[in-house]
Symmetry: C2
Subunit: 478 residues, 2 copies
């Protein structure tokens, strides 16, 4: 067969990959560059071009965004989240809560909710005593007597279903740098827990133990610590101990166990309560995740509301849709259908049993942890089915969508560079790299709980929508 191209020809192929193979088959050296035009469509491409900075013109739209992002990033990086209290019940924090149940992700009505979220809500209704059976609880949920709202709308974040009902205790995390506050419920156990949609009796019993002993006990222990418990040093240390602070918080949980032991002994609690609290922390490897989430929320809320900023201040999933918020674009959610996570699913279950991406926990990715720190969390990589090298590559890739490397959160295996932090919606659309999210995988039916662990990606459409809105807001739309 006669070569199509002379063997001395070298081909650099852009676009359709098959052309490179053809050239190679013809005997040429061919390198395929995985390049796509920036932005998903023509409109975004034009908007993007106007939204990027022009150093020669400080009044240009791009320069305004860059300045706003510097301000937003300094607020994000300067945050000092401190666990200052444990509220006895959510209704004490928000006296107007009534019969509202908070949930994860952007707003969603009962009829569209995924089954694990419905399961968690049924469990919360039973726990509140508003109904006596799961069936009656389901009926009440559809009756219109219960209101539903995203936790984010109250400054709260919750893992998986993210359900907060009025009598649940809440961690109170204050950003000492700016005084703003974020909330999260106390983790109610491992995979067979309320937040995975399980509402069996044991789950209800554990929620009551949390309400009666664990919440109040932690509150009293905290009161012995002047100024509360700073979370940033724990997160920084845990990153040096194999955690990425989303899928794995084993080290951070161990550190917080240690940090609470002395205050629990000093708080005048009876020995049984101390033992019950420490046992709960010890048997809940994800205990620290809710604190990491509240810390991330407190840091990102401080960075929210900077006019013109293109910084992502929240990523949240309700199991049906994934939504993002952007610092300069107010309270609006930019949503798209939630994607399926991929990873390791524990037999007998398989990928078809998985619920789409769920939970407020992606707030930690928005703050530069989780997948953005996976290079630190090598303890996790086997659990999500990856290799150490792939984990390091992912962290390097995510550098292309972020605004800074966090000097406070360094990654040992990458020679102590900071975790890539602060997602810029412009960069996501421009580079075509979607933010990755480490995530637990829930069974798509209620009551079956966690079935795996993996990675998901935030949908590109969220970022395309945000870029278009930013262009319109700044008068840069076509």
């Amino acid at each position: 067969m006669r070569p199509l191209v002379a063997p001395s020809v070298s081909v650099l192929n852009l676009g359709i990959g098959d052309f490179a193979a053809t050239a190679r088959a013809g005997g040429a050296r061919a390198i395929h560059l995985d390049w796509r035009p920036p932005a998903a469509d023509g409109e975004s491409a034009w908007a993007l071009a106007r939204l990027f900075g022009d150093d020669s013109d400080k009044d240009a739209v791009g320069s305004r965004i860059d300045r706003a992002n510097r301000e937003a990033m300094s607020r994000l990086l300067d945050a000092q989240p401190v666990l200052v209290d444990v509220a006895r019940r959510a209704s004490e924090v928000w006296p107007d809560l009534g019969r509202t149940i908070l949930h994860a992700g952007p707003p969603i009505e009962w009829g569209r909710m995924c089954r694990p979220m419905r399961g968690a809500i049924i469990g919360a209704i039973l726990y509140e005593g508003w109904a006596g059976t799961p069936k009656a609880a389901g009926k009440l949920a559809t009756s219109g007597e219960i209101a539903f709202a995203p936790g984010h709308h109250r400054g709260a974040v919750g893992a998986m279903a993210g359900v907060v009902s009025p009598s649940m205790p809440l961690f109170v995390v204050r950003n000492a740098a700016r005084g703003n506050i974020a909330y999260a419920p106390i983790a109610d156990g491992g995979g067979r827990s309320l937040q995975f949609g399980v509402y069996e009796t044991e789950v209800g019993d554990r929620l009551k133990l949390i309400q009666r002993f664990i919440g109040p006990g932690l509150k009293r222990a905290l009161s012995t610590l002047e100024g509360g418990l700073p979370l940033k040093p724990i997160i920084a240390q845990a990153l040096h101990m194999g955690d990425e602070l989303h899928g794995r918080t084993t080290a951070a949980t161990s550190l917080v166990f240690r940090a609470f032991t002395r205050p629990l002994l000093d708080a005048g609690l009876d020995r049984r309560t101390v033992v019950a609290i420490l046992r709960h922390i010890q048997s809940t490897p994800g205990f620290f995740l809710n604190l990491a989430m509240a810390a991330a929320k407190a840091a990102l809320d401080a960075a929210h509301g900077v006019a013109d900023s293109s910084l992502v201040t929240a990523i949240a999933r309700n199991g049906v849709e994934t939504g993002i918020r952007v610092s300069g674009l107010g309270e609006r959610w930019f949503t798209a259908p939630a994607e399926m996570p991929s990873g390791v699913i524990v037999p007998p279950y398989t990928a078809v049993d998985a619920n789409p991406d769920l939970g407020d926990s992606a707030i930690v990715e928005a703050a530069g942890l989780g997948a953005f720190a996976l290079g630190a969390g090598l303890g996790l990589v086997t659990a999500v089915g990856g290799t150490a090298e792939a984990a390091l590559d992912l962290t390097r890739d995510l550098d292309s969508v972020t605004l800074a490397r966090n000097p406070a959160f360094t990654l040992p295996a990458l020679d102590f560079v900071g975790a890539p932090t602060g997602i810029d919606v412009r960069k996501v659309v421009d580079n075509g790299v979607r933010p990755a999210i480490v995530t637990a995988i829930a069974h798509r039916q209620a009551g079956l709980g966690q079935i795996g662990m993996g990675l998901a990606r935030a949908p590109m459409a969220c970022f395309v929508g945000a870029v278009a809105a930013l262009a319109r807001a700044l008068g840069a739309a076509s």
Copy 2:
């Protein structure tokens, strides 16, 4: 200038590196291979040649050694070290101890001891009440009334000076796989501690606190745990949490803190004792090192005494000499002058203030931890002045002197391969790679304590001596 060699010539240079530079200057492509003839001298080279296996002849000396090493390695890798007790005092363990003070490393008399070891012995004499002042203690030490012996000769290992005196409590670690027992004292604090040669009042007070409360309290807590506290799972987990288990045991200490909390609460101790014990563990980041050392000693003792084996079963330094023991060569120490560690020294001190390599702690390297697991202990690399890449390279290098990779101790950043484990004296001499040791650096004067952290190498002469002895023992000497 006319080229010395034609530009098309490629040079592979062995031996003297300057030749490669000359070839390059002459315009040639030159690669220098850092190769030296195996073994340090002609005699060793001939001995070595006879000591390496010949698969075709199972009666050959090398084949006998290989078989012995397989037996020794299976004992080392199968070890199950368990903390089973805390002895109230060393004199209970060894009723014949009398006025003997145990020390680190191979045997050494008072007159040749380094100053930090003398300082620790003075501190131990004061603590025992055998003298009332440092001056009187020093006089007693020289009087001949006090005997000195290596801890290793009693199955005990101690960090730095490694001093054990009769009324010190001891950790009792039993290798459940074979029933043999190893001992280590309880870490008496950080850098300004007895084992670094400091004998000020605070050090004596802390030793008494350990004797009266911490040792007995830990003993009672342990008695509530049926079967004791298995150390292998803690070590394995800590390797996934940034520890290499010599210079950094932060994670393991945190895990052991957690493991002891519940037993301490269950043991019926008064609250003040519990708080004092937990505070001591929390304020001693190296608390777990002594347990890691006793675990390593218990595992290596099981592998000791296998006829014909060339496995190193101990590396120990007394601050003047470094010694090794070999499984098939009995109780003999192969010694050479201790080397100077290099690393990070805290100002105002500099390298001239450092004491030569000191302590029994290199037992953990002999068991495949410490420098051999530095690829796991990335949390340590900045403390010893290295980079993550160099740490990974060191672990890969040490593979060339070891007999196996330990499947129980895996290294995340090297994609979960096992730590290179089991030093073969033949391989050290053959490859010219000296085992590396992570080490704290003591001031060479008594009383000043720890001044840094770094890496040392075991001297080649120890291994050359062992190879020669093995050749003689096996009738393979020239």
